[in-house]
Symmetry: C2
Subunit: 338 residues, 2 copies
């Protein structure tokens, strides 16, 4: 047994300061304006004893923890990292802490962590999924108060949602590509089950169709660099390779571009590239990558707002579609054959 050194509690502070626990508690919670000398004595006692409030006790007693949960697939991805930073900042501004859980891109953990969050009595839950969605998950989510879905919609979940206008993002990409004269376009997507993936594709396809172009190749897979590398291989082994590629995520484009470099494929000389996601330092890449940029910080802020609304007021179940924009850089050029 390790030596358990004396840990002072509210009681000790009260005794030392010669007041009751209630007084100290209220004083600490600013429920109360105290005569200067009483306040002084309490402050002194606290410092002297090295008193540190126990947040678990407080949460238990109050029945709430002033903490919000954030569940994301992984923090080792700039997009989610930036999102987490934005959520933290917004939460901090509201006096809320944030409890972060990463599901390591594992579907089973999504369910597990929703539960974990509930066990922690968070006042709200911000949830980002990246997987095929089971009804079990939807069920658990629907049982969670103060839920806000971010970035990715989940069918059957009733809650507020903050999403991107994925369709428009795809459309912008398609429009940009066709404006440059591309007629044979490839789409490298994330998981095909996700609404975001399908929407981005649909936007691309419609924009292409409108300009008389075509999406001649589609490939879906996880949000990983490895999937990007696979995609590059697949692309290059095509009988007639497309002249442009729209990549659905920043993680994927890393592997794709790397593989393209290694294969000696000129970008944009031989293949134009545009990516949905502008979280990393894409402007320093070779070539600087043209991208669809999403307002990450705003997404975080809005999510916190909606969570607060959802957990306090009536179930508004607002759904927000944040606009995305095209950032032109140097990875799109006219097709070589034109």
């Amino acid at each position: 047994m390790t030596q358990r050194r004396f840990i002072p509690g509210l009681k000790d502070v009260a005794r030392t300061a010669g007041v009751s626990m209630t007084t100290v508690s209220r004083y600490l919670n600013a429920d109360l304006v105290l005569p200067a000398d009483t306040a002084q004595r309490i402050d002194t006692a606290i410092r002297q004893l090295g008193y540190v409030p126990n947040l678990h006790a407080r949460s238990l007693s109050r029945g709430r923890s002033d903490t919000i949960g954030l569940v994301i697939p992984t923090i080792a991805n700039p997009f989610f990292a930036l999102l987490a930073a934005a959520v933290e900042e917004a939460a901090e501004a509201k006096g809320l802490g944030v409890l972060l859980s990463t599901t390591s891109n594992s579907a089973s953990r999504e369910l597990q962590y929703v539960t974990r969050m509930r066990r922690n009595q968070v006042s709200g839950l911000l949830f980002v999924s990246a997987h095929y969605h089971t009804s079990e998950l939807a069920q658990a989510l629907n049982d969670t108060r103060g839920l806000v879905l971010i970035d990715e919609d989940i069918p059957g979940v009733r809650s507020s949602k903050v999403l991107y206008d994925n369709y428009h993002g795809g459309w912008l990409a398609g429009q940009h590509l066709t404006e440059y004269g591309h007629r044979r376009i490839a789409f490298i997507g994330g998981p095909s089950e996700l609404a975001s993936t399908r929407d981005r594709f649909a936007g691309l396809r419609d924009a292409a169709a409108q300009a008389g172009a075509e999406v001649v190749f589609e490939l879906y897979g996880p949000y990983s660099a490895a999937h990007g590398e696979d995609a590059a291989r697949a692309l290059l082994s095509l009988a007639r390779t497309p002249t442009a590629v729209f990549v659905s995520s920043g993680e994927i484009v890393i592997g794709l571009l790397d593989a393209l470099h290694r294969a000696g494929v000129e970008v944009p000389g031989r293949l134009s590239l545009i990516v949905f996601d502008d979280a990393g330092p894409l402007h320093l890449f070779n070539p600087p990558l043209t991208a669809i940029r999403q307002p990450i910080a705003e997404m975080g802020a809005r999510a916190v707002e909606l969570m607060l609304a959802a957990s306090q007021g009536e179930a508004a179940e607002t759904e927000i579609r944040l606009p995305v924009e095209l950032v032109k850089r140097a990875s799109v050029a006219p097709p070589a054959s034109v």
Copy 2:
């Protein structure tokens, strides 16, 4: 008052299952092997009621939370994001949760968050600083059990530490540069008060000296892209610009390289570049950046191990220096004049 719907507790489960709270509690904590039918009844009751344990109550009762605190400057930096991911993974493997706090690069928040962590009764604290260190901080840190300092040493703090061999990193950079014939080298550092910054510089300087080269320019500043841009400006306005630059962090090099591009400076044609930190997709940059790579995942894992040791056994106060390595890419070339 919002409608507070019924939230089942252990008591309700016990009543429904027809056993006592004790039995349920023990069963849930696997302290106990129960007759199949009793277990069955409890499981059913839990599912039926939608019982979710209250972790605050549990932590309060047990006096510990099986959670470790991680304090980092910001999550919006790939290095820290990767570190956080590594810590999470290592903690998860030990059955520990992690409570993340980011200090937003503010020195005052470092102190604030150390306290916050203690209030949360974490079993240990992993702390990454990026600031000038006050004695107040050192004091607070020394009062924290299970403390492990990561990445950056803090004078006067007695605890286990997991650091990089910054001196050797600087030395590797200097050696590489001088091998390519550079004689006039610049050092763009992080905050000058930090031991890591000074060590990296010292390594560079010594390696340079040994090869008859010299560090002709030094500039220090925050870990930010803006500092990198300033550095580029300063570098270019020098009467005799150096032929090579060693940049102390990945964040800084982003701004630096960007400014260099905009100024039309060829890298490595006119200026060779090497950076300490290989967290981002530096291999895709233009040019691919030669870097000193640190074992981030290992740092996270070792930190968790040491924390466990520190919070359980005697205060070992181990200090680990993790080795770094040179990753040659394409941003270093012989100086133009040679």
